[in-house]
Amino acid sequence: MTKHKVRKAVGYSVLNLVFLCLCFLGLIPILYALSLSLSSGGGALSSGITFLPSNPTLDNFKAIITEEPFLIWLKNSFILSLGTMVIAMGVSVEAAYAFSRFRFPGRGGVLKLLLLLNAFPQILSMFALFRLFKELGLLNRHLGLILIYAGSMCIFGIWNMKGYFDTIPLEIEEASKIDGAGNLKLLAAVILPLARPAIIVTSVMILIFVWNEYLFATTFMLSEGSYSLAGGLYQLQTGDYGRSWSMFSAAAILVSIPILIIFFFIQKYMVSGLTSGGVKG
């Protein structure tokens, strides 16, 4: 064992220790919430610091499902996510196809404009939308919120899928064109199946976006029955603390689990998309 080797081994032990600490630090809020959600009623109020509740129980999870309208919020979130996905994908697939395949005057301009529009924080025009929707009677209705979400995710959908369509070789299309397929048929029968990965990732990201959105959800949905999960959780947490804080933790974990699963599932696509985008520039 040379001196050099010993130094190296010590170095790596320190590095591993640092990373273990970092990971733990990063996970503390989540672990703490998890432990509170499993603790019995007064857990949040006790002064001890522990990540292992003394007698773990699922009572809080049961309570959030049976005592609070959690299932209604869940249903609303599903309606919003699915509705948004259908509308946003429905309109942006054709547009992405058009921007990818046709060269027409105004194409570049529109694409740039879309990016610029997307850079605007939508919250800044929220009041204008609010007033508009109030006049149209769309407040407090799923349709209104779905339109807002679909409109804002549409730009994302167009750009994301255009990028993928661009990578599908034109020859495949030309071959089927010679066989007599029209443009729309081509889109449905040839392009869509080829672009399935892009379509899945885009749809999932739209789902995640809606699932995670709270500001429009809490501003435009004014009655308890129409809250989405975000609105409901928001409500739970503004309410009386103590008991409801451990219930809130349970709800927060229930809401996050599907997102965490999806996130880690599509992570590799996201990262490769992000880094390849960076290298390209």
Partner: protein
């Protein structure tokens, strides 16, 4: 046939364009119009056009609070970006140490804060970490025999709290990006550098940083925009509807939101919104080269969720 071809792309994209027109473009134009009126709670219907009064008030009246909010926002962006870059650079370097066997495990664990829905994270921190009664920080303080601190009741501690939370939420993304960039560097540069006797700092300064700079540029620009536009953290941590904590920090975005939805000063709020639009357009043009990629990535990042507010 030729004529039909010409309209086809517009036909295909028209549903999307109409939707974007109604949901994105029209509200922006409408905001522009409201900014020229005295619309507020008392003048909901009988508002009138007052020209550029609101802009004057926002920009030249110091007590309107807008300039202060703008300064806060700039400070917030600068401090956060500096910390984020330095911290994630060193963490990513550590992750890339050749003999680190548990790299994948660490990466996965470090990603968790990024994967959590943002509002859930912020609310968890608000009650789980910063709360005076049940918050973990205060539990630690009282376990050490110190008195409890109300982290969110005054501006400076609240600003720092927001910053810590922002770092917690944003570091994973930066670490991933720098990690990806580091892996694209050819190892032979380091070998020859070592032969030439360059130490750790020299290698970083002359090889690593110049190499990752062009790759990181779009990500950094994008994150700067996101940080600049950060709304959720300030809003959910210190000023939710009916749950003010006492801190009065305003960024330009929370300022616009507050004037629209709390003080019902729609005209002023819209003017501020238009000014922010202007700033963002100017910044976008300024970073023109990066805009395409940046925009593309801003779109991809979490489906824009983190970015949207």
């Amino acid at each position: 046939m030729k004529g039909k071809k010409k309209y086809q792309p517009w036909l295909y994209s028209s549903p999307a364009m109409i939707l974007i027109g109604i949901i994105i473009v029209f509200p922006i134009l409408y905001t522009g119009f409201i900014s020229l009126t005295n619309m507020n709670l008392f003048h909901w219907l009988d508002y009138r056009v007052i020209g550029l009064e609101n802009f004057k008030r926002a920009l030249f009246k110091v007590d309107s609070g807008f300039l202060k909010a703008l300064l806060t926002t700039l400070l917030w962006t600068a401090v956060n970006m500096a910390l984020q870059l330095v911290l994630s650079y060193f963490i990513a370097l550590g992750l890339n140490a050749p003999g680190l066997k548990l790299r994948r495990l660490y990466k996965t664990l470090l990603m968790f804060p990024w994967a959590m829905p943002a509002y859930v994270s912020i609310l968890l921190w608000r009650v789980g970490m910063f709360n005076t009664e049940f918050g973990l920080f205060n539990k630690c303080l009282s376990a050490l025999g110190l008195s409890k601190v109300n982290f969110l009741s005054e501006n400076i501690p609240a600003f720092l709290s927001c910053m810590i939370l922002n770092l917690w939420m944003a570091l994973p993304f930066m670490i991933m990006m720098i990690d990806g960039a580091l892996q694209s560097i050819d190892k032979c540069y380091y070998e020859s550098a070592k032969l030439d006797g360059a130490g750790f700092w020299k290698q970083n300064l002359h090889i690593t940083i110049p190499f990752i700079k062009p790759i990181m540029a779009p990500a950094v620009i994008m994150t700067t925009f996101t940080t600049f536009k950060q709304f959720d953290i300030f809003y959910l941590l210190t000023m939710q509807k009916g749950a003010y904590t006492g801190a009065t920090i305003q960024t330009i975005i929370t300022y616009a939101h507050q004037n629209a939805f709390v003080s019902n000063n729609y005209g002023l709020s819209s003017a501020v919104s238009i000014i922010i639009f202007g700033i963002i357009i100017a910044l976008s043009l300024f970073t023109n080269r990066g805009v395409k990629e940046t925009g593309e990535m801003a779109l991809r990042k979490k489906g824009g969720a983190y970015d949207k507010a």
